[in-house]
């Protein structure tokens, strides 16, 4: 601890030192209180900010995963339609077919897929709709294409 005055000697110095010490103690107590309030306020504000930021980063992480899932689901749905085109409409089963087993592991565990072979569109071609759902059904991608006898051929 440093003193504000110069070097002290004898009782005066001691008394002065006591006074000085008392005064200093009073001053410091006051100063410490202010610092504590500062700290409490700072910590509170900081905690709020940090909580917000953590929440933000969690939301960012979640959004990034959803973006990734959206990309993967869109590619997968398109891929399923192309696979159906490669087979040709005659080898497809009318109605809903569960394609969950065809979904890539990049999608969440609860992701499900359904291919619907619907009504006749043109010639022998049919409308085929692929729906991929995840997050308990809250998120999904739906693509609808036409599958002919062979590719685009009706």
């Amino acid at each position: 601890m440093t003193h504000a005055g110069g070097a002290l000697t004898g009782s005066q110095s001691y008394a002065e030192g006591d006074y000085s010490m008392h005064a200093h103690t009073t001053k410091r107590s006051h100063e410490h209180g202010i610092t504590l309030i500062e700290l409490v306020v700072s910590i509170t504000v900081g905690a709020i900010f940090i909580a917000s930021i953590i929440g933000l980063f969690i939301a960012i992480g979640s959004s990034q995963r959803n973006v990734w899932y959206l990309d993967v689901a869109t590619r997968t749905a398109r891929s399923e339609i192309e696979n159906a085109r490669a087979k040709g409409v005659n080898l497809l089963t009318e109605g809903n077919t569960d394609i969950t087993n065809n979904l890539p592991s990049a999608l969440p565990q609860d992701a499900t897929g359904v291919m619907n072979v619907g009504s006749v569109f043109a010639g022998r071609s049919r409308l085929v709709t692929v729906t991929i759902t995840w997050s308990g059904g809250a998120k999904n991608v739906t693509l609808t294409g036409v599958v002919g006898r062979k590719g685009l051929i009706p």
Partner: protein, 502 residues
């Protein structure tokens, strides 16, 4: 110094926390904005895919229409593919160009993806361009039946060669104690192809049938199987029952899981035929009052429009034979009854031999009844091609440029007999074609038939040597082209596919 120093630190922690937190917040918000942009981009990609798939759907739809309307130019206005609360909306428009030299069709299709069913501004638009040709070998045909299918009743029979049916085949035996008869003779090495595309209603006719199978949904129905049978190689879409379908001597019998192609009905450019006529004469009737004599009206003159009905109907024991000198266009009905042979002239007006079948196009109906003389070939073995363009559309009947019907008129016309052959005679070198309706052969023998529906009944038969002319677009015309004797399976080959960017 110390107090001052402490006093100067007042609020520094708060400021420090605020600065650091703000920095993190800014970083976080920046990342969040990037993620949001990425999310929007990924969502947009879904609409891009939807737009491309809509454009693809436009290609498929257009290819399908081109099978029956080779002059189809595409969908000028947007056609809806789907509109759904969950999926939004997708539309497409198309444009068709045909290159006669390469015989290639180019289809430019633009797909539109909308966020909601009611949206009018697309989120994304994509264009694809597909070049395609009608593939498959031209194939001989004795019968080419459209969506109305082929019906055989009683002792009707068809022998040899290939039978192409776009709809269904129904075989009914109305004869008690009939001897065995067949669609294809037991010795036939031939093909019966049944595409099962004869369903739908007046709004969408014809579409592929999707009935249950086995059962009434199957395209081949054989009633009273004890007397009936099909011999040869049989390919029928959706057929699972092979009862009374036999290989014969050279065929393969019933082919399981066979996908029969739709056949392109022979195409004739009626307008081109009409425009090639060089004179117009009134219709005539060779009947009791004017049937005798060696001069016209017996003759159907080459390149002539007859403006009314043409009738060969001599009274009993009178002869009213006719001669076909070349292509003819009749703006009425064509009727034959009584005695009198019909023959194609040996030579044209220039003295050149007629070696290609003349075409007799009729706006009305063709009725051949109680006719006891043959339809004979000329000395070169050439018969004629009789075509009725009659339908339920009176506007189309009298319009030479009408070569196709909308779904509602085709649906209503398909079961209407517009060509009836009920003569006790043979016409084995002749072809009869009902462009929009039914050909009904109830007696006698003809060479080949084509129609939206074919009915063979009683003693009617197709056992002759005639074949269908056919093909697409310019294959069967200009006038005077070779008698092709073939039709084409409706098989598209996609030569090129590319996305078009603005």
């Amino acid at each position: 110094m110390k107090r001052l120093s402490i006093e100067n630190q007042r609020g520094y922690a708060l400021v420090f926390i605020l600065v650091i937190s703000s920095a993190f917040l800014m970083i976080g918000l920046s990342i969040a904005s990037v993620v949001a942009a990425r999310y929007e981009s990924s969502k947009r990609n879904t609409y891009v895919e939807s737009a491309i798939l809509a454009a693809d759907a436009g290609v498929t739809d257009t290819l399908n229409v081109l099978l029956t309307q080779q002059n189809f130019t595409g969908y000028d206005t947007n056609k809806q593919m789907y509109a759904d609360v969950d999926k939004g909306k997708a539309e497409y428009s198309t444009e068709v160009t045909y290159d006669e030299t390469s015989e290639l069709y180019t289809i430019t299709s633009t797909g539109y993806a909308y966020r909601t069913p009611s949206a009018t501004t697309p989120v994304n638009t994509k264009t694809v361009e597909v070049t395609a040709s009608l593939g498959g070998q031209s194939i001989p045909a004795r019968v080419a039946a459209g969506p109305g299918g082929l019906v055989v009743n009683g002792d009707g029979a068809i022998g040899g060669e290939n039978i192409w049916v776009n709809g269904k085949v129904q075989i009914n035996s109305g004869m008690v104690g009939s001897t065995t008869w067949t669609i294809l003779g037991p010795n036939a090495d031939t093909t019966l192809s049944v595409a099962n595309k004869g369903c739908g209603d007046s709004t969408n006719y014809p579409i592929k049938c999707t009935g249950p199978r086995p059962g009434s949904g199957e395209p081949i129905q054989i009633v009273n199987t004890g007397n009936n049978g099909i011999y040869g190689t049989v390919c029928a879409t959706d057929q699972v029952t092979n009862t009374n379908i036999f290989p014969g001597l050279g065929g393969q019998g019933f082919l399981y899981n066979c996908d029969a192609p739709e056949v392109i009905m022979p195409q004739y450019d009626r307008q081109e035929l009409y425009d090639s006529m060089t004179q117009t004469l009134p219709g005539f009737a060779c009947d009791r009052y004017n049937h005798e004599g060696a001069t016209p009206p017996y003759i159907l003159r080459a390149n002539t429009i007859y403006s009314g009905n043409v009738t060969y109907a001599p009274p009993t024991f009178q002869n009213c034979g006719g001669v076909i000198e070349g292509n003819v266009y009749i703006r009425g009905d064509l009727n034959f009854s009584g005695i009198g042979g019909i023959v194609v002239a040996d030579n044209d007006s220039n003295g050149n031999p007629i070696t290609k079948p003349p075409i007799v196009a009729v706006e009305g109906k063709i009725n051949i009844a109680n006719h006891w003389s043959n339809f004979a070939p000329n000395s070169h073995g050439v018969g004629a091609i009789f075509i009725s363009f009659n339908s339920t559309s009176t506007a189309c009947n009298t319009n030479p440029s009408c070569n196709s019907l909308p779904s509602n008129h085709l649906y209503n016309s398909v079961n209407v007999p517009t060509v009836t052959f009920a003569a006790d005679s043979t016409a084995v070198s002749y072809v009869f074609y009902s462009y929009f309706g039914t050909v009904r052969v109830t007696n006698g023998t003809v060479g080949a038939v084509s129609g939206q529906r074919i009915e063979i009944a009683s003693n009617g038969g197709l056992l002759g040597g005639g074949f269908l002319t056919g093909g697409i677009n310019k294959d069967s015309f200009p006038v005077g082209d070779a008698f092709g004797g073939k039709v084409r399976a409706a098989i598209w080959n996609i030569v090129n596919y590319r996305q078009v960017f603005p």
